[in-house]
């Protein structure tokens, strides 16, 4: 293992990790350009590299891109990647009141801690942790998705009915296209371009970013206020103090992120939201969440960065990719002649450990690079006049929506959902429940139908859904979330929210 550490610390690998983190952070910060895309484009360049160096670059880009998503979430209210959805909930209110720089620094610190926890789990506990991934079958995914949907109650902060309406809209949108299980074609209205369903990233850009753009244009005031004229630096000391006071939140969120990352298909968005909702539930002043609570930013960022290391656990040990970027890296591994599986940790341990140390180093490098890039991003957004900012962001949204699959149809989806999102925001409907429904709907549906088929084959559907320990645990968590969010109380007195 020490040899692997030395290999990861070679000048070449350190330089590659640094370049990867910088490149990844910038790509992740641009709305629409995602970690998946960054990794996919760079895979061929790694073919000629030594296997572990190639993997270090890919891992570093991935880590950087997941973190970079926080910038646009905080400064433009647009999660650059789905993983940053929860970051925008308190990050943007912080930026609004002039604390954008503090939020950026906090997101960096949170990501570094989260990423480190995830990478350490991968380093020391990968083979036993992979068993967690296997214990999640269709039924567990179904309940996990239901649990994720129950977070709408927490996130909608009193306006429960509106949150539910948003969630339902998201679920209906998720039904569009051909069903994974069964192949039935639904709500396509004869449009073959809709067969593949509503793509998540263009929907995300549309629902979050386009309303911000429209508001930028129709409102006279500046996008972000410039509170102090003096240069305040990183506000590192302040951020560090906040982190120390919230150490339980940081550690809990990092562990949630690692755990959710290990379960294939759940991913960063769910991790961020679960950690956020837990942070809110246990906070002394839960009401502050949504109005710029630093703990919200910390929780989301610590969790989503921890999914990077967590996601590599099933990818490397089982050959089952945890997230889309993992899947591309898995392909690159096979090209390099590396066989995934439990034996990877014994037979080709040097490569795995060099890669894991590389990931760890990349995470630590995120501290200086993230702080510096974040500072420039903040200054840029604050000082560029709206007349230049709005068209620049608008251009990026179009490029981002188009670039994923070079598909103009995705741009149309983005614009349509964007206008829809702006209109429903007038009546207080927020984008998060809609996006949550869109992301979790297919997971819930596939899990339910698969569970139903398997339960039918064994003649015990009831036991299939309600009789297994993990399912019961998730159902209990869902019940606790709903009870503590006061959804039952507020549903009665819906007339006067808050």
């Amino acid at each position: 293992m020490l040899g692997a550490l030395a290999a990861a610390l070679s000048l070449e690998n350190l330089l590659l990790a640094l370049l990867g983190v910088i490149g990844g952070t910038i790509i992740g910060a641009l709305p629409g350009l995602s970690a998946t895309m960054a990794v996919a484009v760079l895979v061929p360049f790694t073919f000629t590299m030594d296997p572990s160096s190639g993997l270090i670059v890919l891992g570093a880009i991935y880590t950087g891109a997941i973190y970079g998503g926080a910038y646009s979430a905080i400064l433009v209210n647009t999660p650059g990647t789905p993983a940053a959805i929860a970051t925008s909930m308190d990050g943007f209110p912080m930026a609004r009141r002039g604390d954008g720089d503090l939020a950026v620094t906090l997101s960096c610190l949170g990501s570094v801690v989260g990423g480190t926890v995830g990478a350490l789990a991968l380093l020391f506990l990968a083979p036993p942790l992979s068993q967690i991934a296997l214990s999640f079958g269709p039924v567990e995914y179904f309940w996990l998705a239901i649990f994720g949907l129950s977070l709408i109650a927490t996130l909608s902060r009193g306006a429960t009915l509106l949150g539910l309406i948003g969630g339902a809209i998201g679920l209906i949108l998720s039904c569009v296209g051909s069903a994974v299980v069964g192949g039935d074609v639904r709500y396509t209205f004869g449009q073959t371009s809709l067969l593949g369903g509503i793509p998540v990233i263009p929907a995300l850009i549309g629902l979050y970013c386009v309303p911000v753009l429209i508001d930028m244009v129709i409102r006279p005031e500046a996008h972000l206020e410039r509170r102090a004229e003096t240069v305040r630096g990183f506000r590192f000391r302040e951020a560090f103090g906040l982190m120390r006071r919230s150490k339980f939140n940081v550690i809990r969120s990092a562990l949630i992120g690692t755990g959710v990352g290990i379960v294939p298909a759940a991913g960063g968005s769910v991790a961020g939201l679960v950690a956020y909702s837990e942070a809110r539930r246990t906070a002394r002043v839960p009401e502050a969440f949504g109005d710029g609570a630093p703990d919200g930013v910390i929780a989301s960022e610590a969790a989503n960065s921890a999914t990077v290391g967590g996601g590599f656990v099933p990818t490397l040990v089982l050959g089952i990719p945890g997230t889309p970027p993992d899947a591309i890296i898995l392909g690159a591994l096979l090209v390099q002649g590396i066989r995934t599986g439990p034996q990877l940790f014994t037979q080709q341990a040097d490569i795995v450990f060099t890669f894991t140390f590389g990931l760890l180093i990349a995470t630590l490098l995120m501290l200086p690079t993230g702080l510096i890039i974040g500072r420039y991003a903040f200054r840029l957004i604050v000082s560029v006049p709206k007349t230049a900012l709005a068209p620049a962001i608008a251009f990026l949204t179009v490029v981002g929506a188009f670039a994923i699959e070079a598909n103009t149809f995705h741009v149309a989806i983005m614009v349509a959902l964007g206008i829809f999102g702006w209109l429903v925001a007038r009546i207080g409907l927020e984008p998060s429940p809609i996006v949550l429904g869109l992301i979790l709907g297919p997971i819930a549906e596939a899990g339910f139908v698969q569970g139903w088929l398997i339960g039918g084959a064994s003649g015990n559907r009831l036991g299939m859904f309600f009789g297994q320990p993990i399912s019961i645990g998730i159902i209990a968590m869902t019940a606790i979330t709903l009870a503590s969010s006061g959804v039952f109380k507020r549903a009665v007195s819906q007339g006067n929210p808050e």
Binding site: G137, P138, V181, G182, G183, L195, P314, P324, A327, G337
Partner: protein, 316 residues
């Protein structure tokens, strides 16, 4: 004087040859290679294997991108929208591209996605967890006989190669099985490894990936494979069954024959590289070579082969 004439003649002929080559030089710029699935699966991995050698063979780059959705149909339905110049090529899978349009309106016809070359197939394989009670295929068939419908087969997608294989296996062995579709080969294998599913109706490649965690009961090849010396073929076990997912490279329907032929030659040349072949075989893929000239016959043969299974899938 003679050497001079000779040199001039040689130079001239070289020039002419070069010009002629330039006129039909393909590719003379990077080629976009679209994968109709999410990254990490068999279509992606084999394209990545090809990508390594593409530059050596053609002198140009190939750029891989993904357009997943509807089990491949999203990409194949969009193929007609690209310029038919050979600079957008797409991965295409069979039986998928025959099954889908014959069961539903999916926005394309098989004729729209005829490949220029079929370069490999992933043989069907029945895979169980290493600690499963089924030691042999017969154990599995016996269980299915005694408990109709209780045996669950996990596979990738609906109306896919795995789905058709499950249906055909049920017919051949005269047993009733429950096919459970997943959103890809990897999640289906996860359910096999997790014990939520009785057996995987999947590909040899997944058996390689899962390594010692699984036991492969039978594979649908003509001969045993070097990577699985102890695994019998269906033929050995008395079933006349050689099948799997065939993958090829296709271009828009109106692409000129000359370009199709050149693309076919390029893919053939990559298939001939020993290093490429070794990489493919190690991972469970079986190389096949169906060039442009033989494609029409090959497609017709597949259509006839799949027809009985399609009837059953239609009825579902």
């Amino acid at each position: 004087m003679k050497p001079f004439v000779k040199t001039t003649a040689l130079a001239t002929s070289l020039c002419v040859a070069a010009l002629a080559a330039a006129a039909q030089e393909y590719p003379s710029q990077p080629v976009d290679y679209i994968i109709p699935y999410n990254p990490g699966g068999e279509s992606d991995v084999t394209a990545r294997f090809q990508e390594q050698f593409w530059r050596d063979v053609t002198g140009e780059d190939v750029v891989i991108s993904y357009r997943p959705g509807a089990g491949g149909a999203t990409a194949w339905a969009s193929l007609g929208g690209f310029d038919p110049d050979g600079y957008t090529i797409m991965n295409v899978n069979f039986p998928h591209a025959i099954l889908q349009p014959s069961i539903r309106d999916v926005g394309y016809q098989t004729e729209d996605v005829i490949p220029a070359y079929i370069f490999h197939y992933t043989p069907d394989a029945i895979v169980v967890r290493a600690d499963s009670p089924y030691q042999t295929l017969q154990d599995l068939i016996d269980f299915a006989n005694e408990n109709p419908g209780a045996l669950t087969f996990g596979g990738s997608g609906t109306n896919s190669a795995n789905h058709l294989a499950a249906v055909r296996f049920g017919q051949m062995a005269d047993v009733q099985v429950t096919y459970v579709p997943f959103g890809g080969s990897a999640p289906a294998m996860a359910a096999v490894l997790g014990g939520q599913i009785g057996a995987g109706m999947t590909y040899t490649t997944q058996g390689v990936r899962a390594g010692e965690q699984v036991r492969v009961l039978a594979i649908a090849t003509e001969e045993r494979l070097d990577i699985f010396p102890d695994v019998p073929t269906f033929t050995e076990l008395g079933f006349d069954y050689v099948a799997g997912a065939y993958r090829g490279v296709t271009v828009p329907r109106d692409t000129p024959d000359a370009v199709r032929q050149q693309l076919s030659d390029i893919i053939a040349e990559i298939n001939d590289i020993p290093e490429f072949g070794a990489q493919m075989e190690e991972n469970g893929y079986v190389l096949v070579d169906v060039p442009h000239s033989e494609m029409a016959d090959w497609i017709a043969a597949r259509q006839a082969d799949y027809a009985p299974g399609i009837e059953i899938l239609r009825g579902n």
